[in-house]
């Protein structure tokens, strides 16, 4: 009795009109845990949750693909059940994309349920976007839509740890920040640094990790009165 009811509720949720709170895709019989509130990733609005199920990746993917197909929503399936499968549905009338990203972890299927707004872009609010660090191969900004938490940047830089450290220190001291704390962040055989910069009530954390001798990962988190 419970399973058909859940299925019916899932189908109902997927058909809610645009004016209502837009729901995330849900897999029946699982608990979905929200990841933050509405997020801004790479300049686009997202809503995300994750769930765990003993069902195999292919069965979960098939459920979403069949359900969206039944509703007449254009759907794509990318990847492989052995590594990662992504099922996406494009709600073209409302400018929304619903996706599930599925992979196998610890004998269970881990699913990330994602709602992406294809039409609305966040307002910069007059704050200038910070340029990527010199040598950046990849840059991704992450923040909350309502500004409730600080903003974070993930970056992969084509330079060794020492060079990236020097560039970070030069940039932030140029902006008036002062290095207030620096600790060794080495972990699992990889060299790393954790730095804290301060300017008035603003704090900027830097976590640098050597990926290989010529590449460094950088996570920068603004806290306090930093740019949002």
């Amino acid at each position: 009795m419970r399973q058909p009811l859940i299925l019916a509720l899932g189908a109902l949720a997927a058909a809610v009109p645009a004016a209502a709170e837009q729901p995330l895709p849900t897999y029946p019989g699982t608990v979905h845990t929200r990841i933050g509130n509405d997020l801004v990733i790479g300049g686009e609005y997202y809503r995300m949750a994750y769930f765990l199920t003993p069902d195999p990746v292919a069965r979960v993917a098939q459920y979403f693909a069949a359900e969206w197909d039944r509703l007449g929503i254009p759907t794509t399936v990318d990847g492989s059940p052995a590594s990662q499968l992504v099922v996406s549905a494009f709600y073209t009338r409302e400018g929304l994309q619903r996706s599930v990203v599925l992979c196998r972890r610890g004998g269970k299927t881990l699913g990330f349920s994602v709602l992406k707004d294809l039409w609305t872009r966040p307002d910069a609010g007059g704050v200038a976007e910070e340029a990527p660090l010199e040598g950046a191969l990849f840059t991704q900004d992450f923040s909350a839509r309502d500004g409730a938490v600080g903003r974070a940047r993930t970056e992969l830089v084509a330079a060794d740890l020492g060079t990236v450290r020097a560039r970070v220190v030069a940039r932030l001291t140029g902006q008036g920040f002062r290095l207030v704390k620096e600790t060794d962040g080495s972990e699992a055989g990889r060299k790393g640094l954790v730095m804290e910069f301060g300017k008035g009530g603003a704090r900027v954390m830097q976590v640098l990790t050597a990926v290989d001798p010529a590449t460094t990962a950088r996570v920068q988190t603004w806290m306090g009165e930093g740019p949002r």
Partner: protein, 236 residues
């Protein structure tokens, strides 16, 4: 695909030589005959089968009436294309202000909104439409030729996915070859077209559903949004 071609055909200058394909030409010839008796709320959905398995669905709905900028009585006509009969998430959407007297001809359309895929809808600017706003009903090749022949049959019941409708078959021949078959039905709203066949290329367009309570479905852009400007291509 027909949707995009239709936009190009409507908005492009004749010099561009836009080709909408055999189904598009046949439809435009039919649609150019006017929408004078269409009523607000009427809708019709067709199933398009180009013979290669890539079936699509096309919905037309009359969703409002007003005077156009030339003072003519006009309809707001919404068109949608998609791969599912429900068109819950169409792959293309078009909203046109069409003068009743002129129909879906180049001179009959004075406003146009267009959305493709998951993009937000945008309006085509007035200049793009004004460039084509002259009466120019499309003509099919061969219709003036002595070798062309149109034969009308007796009204009979035609089975469709939307049920049986009373329809009159009309066949167009060119040099003894049937190039187009249409089934015209008073029961079918908007275009009065129940079925269209192009035997030579195995294309068919068939009634999928129809009704009289259509509401506007396209989410229109803010009037302050930038409009699309279309320019003719292909001409030197």
């Amino acid at each position: 695909m027909i949707g995009l071609a239709l936009v190009a055909w409507i908005a492009a200058a004749p010099a561009a030589g836009v080709d909408v394909g055999p189904v598009g030409r046949a439809l435009l010839a039919h649609m150019a005959q006017g929408l004078s008796d269409a009523r607000t709320g009427e809708w019709v959905t067709y199933r398009l089968d180009p013979g290669d398995g890539r079936v699509t669905f096309w919905r037309l709905a009359v969703v409002g009436e007003e005077k156009d900028r030339l003072g003519r009585d006009a309809y707001w006509l919404e068109m949608e294309w998609g791969t599912h009969a429900a068109l819950a998430a169409p792959l293309a959407q078009l909203r046109l202000l069409v003068a009743k007297e002129a129909g879906l001809s180049r001179g009959g359309i004075t406003r146009m909104f267009w959305a493709q895929g998951a993009d937000r809808a945008a309006e085509v600017d007035e200049a793009s439409l004004a460039a084509t706003a002259r009466p120019a009903a499309p003509r099919e090749r061969g219709t003036d030729d002595a070798s062309a022949l149109v034969r009308t049959g007796e009204q009979s019941m035609l089975m469709t996915a939307a049920g049986s409708v009373a329809a009159v078959p009309v066949e167009a021949f060119y040099r003894q070859t049937a190039v187009k078959r249409l089934w015209i039905s008073r029961q079918v709203p908007v275009l009065h077209l129940a079925k269209l066949e192009l035997p030579a290329v195995h294309h068919t367009l068939e009634l999928q559903g129809y009704g009289v309570q259509a509401k506007p479905r396209m989410i229109l852009p803010d009037p302050k949004e930038t409009k699309i400007h279309l320019e003719a291509g292909g001409a030197p």
